[in-house]
């Protein structure tokens, strides 16, 4: 089913930390302990969505989208929703949009955006120093998990 062109997205700020560093968006999701890297086109689209662009404005930013391109763009944006990073906006506020960061129509060559997802920090971001230490105490984690010192 196509995404409505007037749909816009909100960043789930209370659940994530995010920063654009040298053209790469790095996102940490607190509840899952996952983190994400968005490079190239993914970082560009992320920036547009962050500025308040609707899905229609994002898709119209590209010169011409083929069927596969539409699927790739939808998969990327909806993937961020599935990961709990974005959610559907509920009260559109035109004044909250950052007009100078919104996309220009038809000016961008499409490259399929995608994010890289990592879970190798989960054991440190989610571990509970109270309940998951062995009898020697923190920083000695229970067997099977990593430890810090």
């Amino acid at each position: 089913m196509p995404i409505p062109s007037d749909r816009y997205y909100e960043i789930v700020e209370q659940d994530i930390a995010h920063e654009m560093i040298d053209g790469e968006a790095i996102i940490i999701h607190f509840k899952s302990g996952n983190y994400y890297s968005l490079n190239g086109m993914a970082a560009i689209v992320w920036g547009w969505l962050q500025a308040g662009a609707t899905y229609g404005e994002v898709s119209e930013a590209f010169e011409e989208l083929k069927t596969d391109d539409v699927a790739a763009l939808r998969g990327f944006v909806e993937g961020l929703v599935s990961e709990g990073i974005l959610r559907y906006g509920t009260s559109f506020d035109a004044h909250a949009r950052k007009a100078d960061l919104l996309p220009l129509s038809g000016h961008t060559v499409f490259l399929a955006p995608q994010f890289d997802k990592y879970n190798d920090m989960q054991h440190l971001l989610l571990s509970d120093p109270i309940h998951e230490v062995d009898e020697r105490g923190w920083p000695h984690a229970v067997a099977g998990s990593d430890q810090t010192s």
Binding site: H18, I21, R136
Partner: protein, 355 residues
């Protein structure tokens, strides 16, 4: 260890403010029983903190680690921290109930924490911390005389960190050394060589902030501050310097280590605060010569953030946000760590000078 008899009050079970007030009453009881032994002002990342102790055991165990932060000033402190221990003052620490501990994540007792008050319980070493974000905090040990080195070398971290978070700073798991102009953060997983490198730099005349935990701000450029004036050495590194330093032995897990207070042996080399020039991620190579190579921000995040959050968790994830923001302003390098520590330190000195 057994706790002394405490009043039968359960009012705090769902009320953060009431639990905080119970901590305040327990401290006041400790003062009545044991008196105030110390009342000092500390400057921590620009924040003036009055640190008050009831009884003398807790201050004897932890104040030397903070001694370099003591300031003689008439200024009004922004925070007042109170500290006591149950055993020497006979004022029971207000232990959390089983119900409170049902929602006990990353040290925080969430059932008795809210936007204003936060309670932390480090159960394995029996430390309770109560913070009113408006500027008052209480920390209680069950028995300060038997504090593990983990706390003696980095005391009151949850209390300090909560106050620091409000100023855009976070305690991070990193060594930090520098010169008069700038610092280098050295972050990585355990046994990557950062603590040993920090002590080697200290012994070769560089300025020193930390071998393990320091303060990082998210300014542009980020700044680092010394918080704990402690340096730790593994047994194999002790030989050449053991006769020159007042080393104290301790055991961490099954490993024997030694520590000393930097401000007593190297008072002029402590670097209170400096802009951070770069984040270095050390890796021991087995080669004789050390070298630097560029790394990505993602590499930097992997080296710095998870260990910092694991060591000093925050109740509201503000630590992750501060560290990530700081990384946005920090060049990151891999430090391929060779065995020639003279060459390594010279290289870092040159790097700091920009050559």
């Amino acid at each position: 260890m057994t706790s002394s008899v405490r009043p039968l009050s359960r009012i705090y079970e769902t009320l953060p403010g009431a639990y905080f007030r119970e901590a305040r009453e327990a401290y006041q009881r400790a003062v009545r029983n044991a008196g105030i032994s110390h009342n000092v002002l500390l400057r921590v990342a620009g924040i003036l903190i009055q640190l008050r102790f009831a009884g003398d055991v807790a201050q004897r165990m932890i104040l030397p680690t903070l001694a370099h932060l003591i300031e003689d000033t008439k200024d009004t402190p922004q925070w007042i921290f109170h500290c006591w221990d149950d055993a020497s003052t006979r004022s029971a620490m207000p232990m959390p109930t089983a119900e409170m501990k049902n929602d006990h994540r990353r040290n925080c007792l969430h059932k008795v924490s809210d936007r204003r008050y936060v309670a932390f319980y480090q159960e394995w070493m029996e430390v309770l911390s109560f913070i009113d974000r408006e500027g008052e905090a209480y920390a209680c040990y069950l028995d300060a005389s038997s504090l593990p080195m983990y706390e003696r070398a980095a005391p009151l971290r949850q209390v300090f960190n909560t106050a620091l978070n409000l100023r855009g700073c976070q305690i991070v798991h990193a060594a930090a050394v520098g010169d008069n102009e700038a610092s280098l953060l050295i972050a990585g997983p355990p046994r990557s060589g950062k603590s040993t490198l920090a002590v080697q730099c200290l012994l070769r005349g560089m300025r020193y902030q930390s071998d393990d935990l320091c303060i990082l701000s998210h300014d542009c450029p980020p700044r680092s501050w010394s918080l704990y004036n402690v340096a730790k050495i593994r047994e194999e590194g002790v030989g050449p310097i053991s006769s020159e330093l007042p080393l104290e032995a301790f055991t961490e897990g099954e490993e024997r280590k030694y520590f000393f207070h930097v401000n007593t042996s190297f008072p002029d080399q402590i670097l209170p605060v400096a802009p951070v020039k770069a984040l270095l991620i050390p890796k021991i190579t087995g080669e004789p010569i050390s070298r630097l190579s560029p790394a990505t921000a993602l590499d930097g995040m992997r080296a710095l953030l998870p260990y910092s959050i694991s060591e000093v968790p925050t109740a509201d994830n503000s630590g992750e946000k501060i560290i990530l923001k700081a990384l946005g302003h920090l060049p990151v390098y891999h430090l391929h760590l060779g065995s020639n520590s003279d060459q390594t330190c010279l290289m870092l000195k040159d790097f700091l000078r920009g050559s």
